[in-house]
Symmetry: C2
Subunit: 132 residues, 2 copies
């Protein structure tokens, strides 16, 4: 998580889409950042020291996503039946996967589509209508 | 998509989890394959010819996932309110994201957890109970 994301969160602690979108390659600058992340991850897959560092960074990032999802649960915006940690991991995985596609195929993945994919994912977690 | 996946699909065309799981690093061999994919993607981000090839490969893979999801919709197993293509893309993105984590952190991502993350994702697409 970088200072831009911290700033976004301070501006509106409940704006999870705004916060998570900062991790997506929404612009050329974001795609350049994603390229660097992919280089880092590729290296970390073969280097135990980098691997350790990566897992520690991921742990902090996932913890932040955990807390944001917990906030959404408390506000009744989502349900996390399969566990908050697992939902946070799924969301982090989705973000990395979107980042991959949007960097490899930017013409087909404008910012709007990336953000919509995040929104759709969270919409699936919305509480289901109760049956009377 | 490789011959192992084709074989899996011929065995049971409705076993979407079994088919998609073949794209996950469920074992050491799978992690080695994922490492190669990450090298390829990193290169394709910087090489227009490889980028073109990657997009074409992805298109075929996504098309297959599309058709599997369409089958699930027809059987009433899922709803794809945001569009079948977008759901297929989200699923492909999730698979790549799980592959990243499971390769970087295999101890915390055994096969069972990877498959459960896929299952949970598809469970979120299950038709919502109708309100009477």
């Amino acid at each position: 998580m970088n200072s831009r994301m911290e700033r976004k969160l301070r501006q509106d602690p409940e704006d999870i889409i705004g916060f998570l979108s900062e991790a997506l390659p929404l612009s050329r600058c974001g795609r350049d950042e994603t390229k660097v992340w992919f280089c880092f991850w590729s290296r970390a897959m073969h280097d135990s020291e980098l691997g350790l560092m990566q897992r520690s960074m991921h742990c902090r990032w996932r913890g932040k996503v955990d807390r944001l999802l917990e906030g959404m649960v408390k506000r009744g915006e989502i349900c996390v039946n399969c566990g908050a940690e697992d939902e946070a991991e799924a969301l982090c995985a989705l973000i990395n996967g979107i980042g991959l596609r949007a960097t490899l195929d930017p013409e087909n993945w404008p910012a709007k589509r990336q953000v919509k994919t995040l929104e759709d994912h969270l919409a699936h977690l919305a509480p289901k209508a109760s049956v009377h």
